[in-house]
C-alpha cells in the first residue's frame, strides 16, 4: 500500500484501463451496444442481463431468451442444423471473394480460376475453403435430416417445418451442383453432362427442362452464365427465404423437439 502512495504516476496498465473505461462509457459506444450487452461498461452476470443479451440484440430474431435445458446438449443436436447455417455463411463470404476474380464465359472461366490460384493472394486458400465448405454443407444438411428423423422431430406440430427442411436439402444439392460447373474444367463439364442427361429423361417435358437449364441443346457458354446466375443469386435468394421460415418455425413450433 505504501509503495502505491510513493509512486502516484499511473502505470501503463492503469492508463489503458482508464482509456478503455472512457471508450466504454462514451455516447458512441453506448449507441452501438444496447443495454445488457456484454460489451457495455459494468456488465455483470445476472439473470436480467442474461435476458437482455438476447432481447436487446439482433440475435433475438434467431433465439428466444430461454431454451429447454436438454436443447443445449451437444449430444442431442450435434449442432448440425446450426453448423449448416454457419457453413452457408462461410460459403457466402468466400463466394463473394471468388466473384471478384471470375467471369462466367467459356473463354475466361477456367483461366480465371487458374489465375486466382496462382496469382491472387489467398486465392487458392479461399477457393479450397469454398469447395470443401460446399461438400461439408451437403454433408451437414444431410446428417441434420437424419438426426431429425431419428428423433421423431418431424411429428406434429413440426410436420411442415420438416417439409421446408426437405426443400432446403434439395436447394443445397442444387446450389452445390450449379457451383460444380463453374470452374469449367474437364471434371465440371462432364460431371454436369452426366447430371443433366438424367434430367432429360423427365417424362413429358424432359427436353424442355433440359433446354431451359442448359440454355441450349448442349452445355456451352450460355449454360455457364445461366448456372452462374442461379448459383450466386437466385438459389441463395430462395434458400435464404426458406431458411428464414425454417428458423422461425422452429421457435413457433415450441423450440426444438424432445427430450426423448
Amino acid at each position: 500500500m505504501a509503495k502505491v502512495l510513493d509512486n502516484p504516476r499511473p502505470t501503463l496498465k492503469e492508463r489503458a484501463a482508464k482509456i478503455g473505461a472512457q471508450i466504454q462509457g462514451s455516447q458512441a459506444w453506448n449507441s452501438i451496444f444496447r443495454p445488457g450487452s456484454i460489451f457495455r461498461k459494468g456488465y455483470t452476470d445476472s439473470p436480467r442481463n442474461r435476458s437482455y443479451v438476447i432481447m436487446n440484440s439482433v440475435l433475438y430474431h434467431l433465439h428466444p431468451v430461454k431454451v429447454k435445458r436438454h436443447a443445449v446438449k451437444v449430444s442431442y443436436t450435434l449442432c448440425l442444423g446450426g453448423l449448416s447455417f454457419f457453413v452457408f455463411i462461410l460459403l457466402t463470404v468466400t463466394g463473394i471473394f471468388l466473384m471478384f476474380f471470375y467471369r462466367p464465359t467459356g473463354a475466361n472461366a477456367w483461366q480465371d480460376i487458374q489465375t486466382l490460384q496462382t496469382s491472387v493472394t489467398f486465392g487458392l486458400l479461399i477457393r479450397n475453403m469454398h469447395r470443401w465448405g460446399a461438400h461439408i454443407m451437403v454433408l451437414t444438411v444431410f446428417l441434420h435430416m437424419a438426426r431429425v428423423f431419428y428423433h421423431g422431430a418431424y411429428k406434429p406440430p413440426r410436420e411442415f417445418n420438416w417439409v421446408i427442411g426437405v426443400i432446403l436439402l434439395t436447394l443445397t444439392l442444387l446450389l452445390s451442383f450449379t457451383g460444380y460447373l463453374l470452374p469449367w474444367d474437364q471434371l465440371a463439364l462432364w460431371a454436369v453432362t452426366v447430371g443433366t442427361n438424367m434430367m432429360g429423361y423427365t417424362p413429358v417435358f424432359g427436353s424442355q427442362v433440359r433446354f431451359v437449364l442448359l440454355g441450349g441443346v448442349e452445355i456451352g457458354s450460355e449454360t455457364l452464365l445461366r448456372w452462374y446466375v442461379l448459383h450466386v443469386l437466385m438459389l441463395p435468394f430462395v434458400i435464404v427465404i426458406f431458411m428464414a421460415i425454417h428458423f422461425w418455425r422452429v421457435r413457433k413450433d415450441g423450440g426444438i423437439s424432445g427430450p426423448l
Partner: protein, 231 residues
C-alpha cells in the same frame, strides 16, 4: 347516459355523510385522513387475540353494506376455468451463455477445421473443359453417384427421375404418413428401421458408384485398379 338507480345514490350519500361526520374529536385534526374505525381495527389486530372483541367497539366500518358486511359476493367462478394449468412448467436455461457459447465454439471449431483442411488439400482443377475429349469414366458429383449407379440397373427415366422423385415425395410425406405420435425410439422401431434401410441403401449405392466403378463405369476394385473419383 344511463340513469343511476335511486338506491345506489342513496347509499353513496349515506356513506359520504358517515365519512364527513366527526365521530370522534381526533378526526378533526388536520392531515389525519385515516378513519378512526380503521385505526381502531389496526390497534385491535396489533393486540392479537382482542380482534373480535375490539371490532364492535369501533362501530360499523365505513363503507359497510347492509347488515355491516364489508365483503360482497359478486359471482362464483368455477376453479377449472381460471386455475387449471395448461402445461407443465418446462426446465429452461438462458440462451446466453448456455446456447450461444456452444454455438460459438462449434462455429469456431468448424472454421478451424475448414481452414486447416483447405490449407493442406487443394481443390481439384483439371484441364480446361474440352468437348472433344470425354474422360473415361465420366462421373457426376458424389451426392449424385447413387443415382448414376441406379442408371446401370434401370432405364434412365426410372433411375434418374422416377426413383429420386419418389424418394423426395416419400420424405416430404413422411410426417403425414407416420401416424405414430410417440417420439420414443422404442415405440418407433418400424420407422427407424425403414429410414436406416433407406440410408444404407443410398450409402451403398453411392460408395459403389464412387469407388467401385472404373472406365466405362464398369465394376472395379479400388485396391486392384485404383480410385476413379474426384471431389
Amino acid at each position: 347516459m344511463t340513469e343511476i338507480p335511486e338506491h345506489l345514490l342513496k347509499r353513496a350519500q349515506a356513506a359520504r355523510d358517515k365519512a364527513a361526520s366527526p365521530s370522534d374529536a381526533s378526526a378533526s385534526e388536520g392531515g389525519d385522513r385515516i378513519p378512526d374505525a380503521l385505526l381502531d381495527r389496526t390497534k385491535a389486530s396489533g393486540a392479537g387475540a382482542a380482534v373480535v372483541a375490539a371490532a364492535p367497539a369501533g362501530g360499523v366500518p365505513v363503507g359497510a353494506g347492509p347488515g355491516g358486511h364489508t365483503q360482497r359476493l359478486l359471482t362464483v367462478v368455477k376453479s377449472g376455468s381460471i386455475q387449471e394449468a395448461k402445461a407443465a412448467p418446462v426446465d429452461k436455461v438462458h440462451t446466453w451463455p448456455h446456447l450461444l457459447a456452444v454455438e460459438f465454439v462449434a462455429g469456431l471449431a468448424l472454421t478451424a477445421f475448414l481452414f486447416v483442411f483447405s490449407w493442406v488439400v487443394n481443390a481439384p482443377l483439371l484441364q480446361a473443359a474440352d468437348f472433344n475429349n470425354t474422360p473415361n469414366p465420366s462421373k457426376a458429383p458424389w451426392y449424385f453417384l447413387g443415382l448414376q449407379e441406379l442408371l446401370t440397373m434401370f432405364h434412365p427415366m426410372i433411375a434418374g427421375v422416377t426413383l429420386p422423385g419418389m424418394g423426395l415425395v416419400a420424405l416430404i410425406l413422411a410426417p403425414y404418413l407416420d401416424r405414430n405420435a410417440s417420439n420414443k425410439p422404442e415405440d418407433r422401431k418400424f420407422m427407424t428401421s425403414m429410414m436406416t434401410m433407406f440410408l444404407i441403401f443410398w450409402a451403398v449405392l453411392t460408395i459403389i458408384g464412387s469407388f467401385f466403378r472404373g472406365p466405362g463405369f464398369n465394376f472395379t476394385f479400388p485396391w486392384r485398379d485404383g480410385i476413379f473419383f474426384e471431389l
